[in-house]
């Protein structure tokens, strides 16, 4: 009986299949236009883009622009500014990758121990909120704190007799500021994801551990963390895959695009944007974008493979 109903499920009428296919058409068109069509742009990275006004994009790219092989890439790597940009991108992302696991997991483990529902509800709400506030607004908040003449912090410094700091001219503070803001914005959101996993753990496991005399840290180590393994691995693999991507808003809008801060705030996305919009340097910025995408893709696959070797269930595929 069960087998029969399964049989009728697995065979779908031709008509229904066509109807379902039609339902996917709008999405397929959207992906074709906005994800797959731009893929031809990979060619930009291997061409010296010299558009002739009035001709179509494809003619300009494939007929009017000569192939230059890897020249765009070699220019890129010989550019000292690019190496800074690359370093910044990796630097921030590695920190975000580690902090993005350690901090939310710690918060989730601790918050799960607080059993006053109203309190945890308010805490969760307050911590998730930053995730839904745009970097533009955050930029203004930070300006309110750090503005040289009217900022709250310089106001406090003056009150205590210290010298005011020209924050937007002092790169030495900004690595710390940007890291804190990145953590501030996403930790709460990630924490809620982990908290759901923690709350799903069978409480009897903790009781058993408590009966065996395990203290709080032992219980976290031997009960909670093993249960979070899969979620941690998933978020880690995705993080590795986007190791060369950065939050444009954080690195461009929050420092107010201040020239003095460029050495510590410029990441690949900002660099690509600027070389495209300000210098109209198509080949250069697509070479940079190509690297970003290609390296991310390769790293994602490697990270997934390694995870699979260690623990099959935690890998993405």
């Amino acid at each position: 009986m069960a087998k029969k109903s399964h049989g009728s499920l697995s065979r779908m009428s031709r008509k229904e299949n066509i109807q379902l296919t039609l339902m996917t058409i709008p999405t397929v068109i959207w992906y074709a236009l906005f994800c797959y069509l731009p893929l031809f742009g990979i060619f930009f990275a291997f061409k010296d883009f010299t558009p002739v006004p009035g001709e179509s994009l494809f003619e300009n790219l494939f007929v009017n622009s000569p192939w230059v092989g890897l020249r765009n890439f070699s220019y890129l790597f010989r550019n000292p500014q690019y190496m800074d940009v690359l370093f910044n991108t990796l630097f921030y992302n590695i920190i975000f990758l580690v902090a993005g696991i350690v901090i939310p997991v710690t918060l989730a483990v601790l918050l799960a121990e607080v059993h006053q529902k109203k309190f945890t509800g308010v805490v969760q709400m307050a911590l998730v909120l930053p995730y839904f506030i745009s970097w533009v607004v955050v930029g203004y908040c930070i300006y309110g704190l750090l503005a040289t003449d009217v900022g709250q912090i310089n106001g406090l410094l003056k009150m205590f007799g210290a010298d005011p700091v020209q924050w937007y001219q002092s790169p030495e503070y900004w690595r710390g500021i940007l890291i804190s803001l990145g953590i501030w914005k996403t930790s709460g959101y990630t924490m809620v994801i982990y908290l759901c996993s923690v709350n799903a753990i069978d409480r009897s496991l903790y009781e058993a551990a408590a009966l065996d005399g395990a203290n709080f840290f032992q219980r976290v180590r031997h009960v909670t963390l093993p249960h979070l393994r899969t979620t941690i691995a998933t978020l880690f693999i995705l993080g590795v895959g986007s190791i060369l991507n950065s939050d444009f808003g954080l690195f461009y809008q929050v420092p107010l695009d201040s020239g003095a801060l460029q050495s510590v705030t410029q990441t690949l996305d900002v660099y690509v944007y600027k070389s495209l919009m300000l210098q109209a340097n198509f080949s250069f910025s697509s070479a940079a974008a190509f690297l970003q995408s290609g390296v991310g893709c390769i790293l994602l696959v490697i990270a997934n493979l390694i995870t699979r070797k260690i623990d099959r269930d935690s890998a993405l595929v």
């Binding site: 109807q19 999405t27 309190f119 309110g144 107010l256």
Partner: protein, 307 residues
């Protein structure tokens, strides 16, 4: 408060002692305050009078309360109403269009017997791995699709997301019993009809969840405007981008104060007004957030579940 401590230390649940619990609670109170600090400052600043800001700067405790900035914003000119209208248009149409496109696709994918299910999943996942990058997206959107300086440039690029489609699909799969679909089939109901009349009503939480993510996403978006809307089409600026633009002008003015004409000076709103504008931008989110939060959780937890 003291006698209530017993209520949140239940020995069978919590492995922390009473003192540790108080410390953890205190810690989270501090973290919560810290998380809200930046936002509180702009609200305080927007409620201060312009003179007090000029004299004392932005302060957590306003030296002189005043609603002038808000009254001025809403009574002078049509820049702000226009920007709000743009943001609302983009947010509403983007969210509705996005759901209208994604839900049918997610439904088809949620049917295990659908012939192209696997292929289509790969088709949707690949762009998460590899993208053409900003340059070619820009060229396609401006030169082939001719989106520059249109509302569509603000709406279309962010309309679909593989992530949302997968959230919808997973939820449909686990919450719609096969028998219900079978019953519909026997009565000769088309898949689109059964999506609208059976699936969506049952799966309202996840649809709301994706809708809320989209609403917040569109309301907060300014990057498309930065790239696709030229400065001579400022009538299309969404609220967020108006803020970006004001801030750019202020930066340019401070950089070379000598070259700024008197006219440009007057187009820049005062310090309190800028903060009032920020509050107008962020207030809908803060006000709606408590109501939307339970929907967000659905999406976040469904998304964390693989396959």
């Amino acid at each position: 408060m003291k006698q209530k401590h017993g209520s949140y230390v239940r020995p069978q649940d919590s492995s922390l002692g009473r003192t540790a619990n108080i410390i953890v609670t205190a810690f989270f109170t501090a973290v919560t305050v810290l998380a809200l600090m930046p936002v509180v400052l702009i609200i305080a600043a927007s409620l201060s009078s312009e003179e007090s800001i000029e004299m004392y700067g932005y302060r957590y405790i306003p030296q002189e309360f005043s609603f002038d900035a808000f009254t001025y914003l809403f009574t002078s000119g049509d820049t702000l109403p226009r920007a709000i209208l743009n943001s609302v248009i983009v947010t509403c149409s983007g969210t509705v269009l996005g759901l209208a496109v994604m839900c049918p696709c997610a439904y088809a994918l949620s049917r295990k017997e659908f012939r192209w299910g696997k292929l289509l999943t790969v088709f949707l996942l690949l762009p998460m791995l590899f993208s053409g990058g900003l340059v070619s997206s820009y060229m396609v959107n401006t030169q082939i699709l001719h989106l520059k300086n249109t509302y569509l440039a603000l709406i279309l690029p962010g309309m679909c997301s593989t992530w949302y489609i997968m959230i919808l699909r997973n939820y449909f799969r686990t919450n719609i019993p096969d028998s219900l679909i079978e019953a519909g089939k026997l009565e000769g109901v088309s898949p689109l009809r059964s999506l609208v009349s059976i699936v969506l009503p049952i799966c309202r939480p996840v649809v709301m969840s994706v809708a809320v993510f989209q609403i917040f996403g569109y309301w907060n978006s300014w990057y498309p405007a930065l790239i696709y809307i030229a400065s001579n089409h400022s009538e299309l600026y969404p609220l967020q981008y108006v803020l970006v633009n004001i801030e750019r002008t202020v930066q340019a003015m401070t950089r070379d104060a000598a070259n700024v004409s008197g006219m440009e000076m007057t187009t820049v709103p005062g310090m309190t007004m800028r903060m009032a504008l920020v509050v107008v931008t962020v207030l809908p989110i803060i006000v709606l957030f408590p109501f939307f939060q339970r929907f967000l959780k659905t999406g976040m937890t469904v998304g964390a579940v693989k396959e």
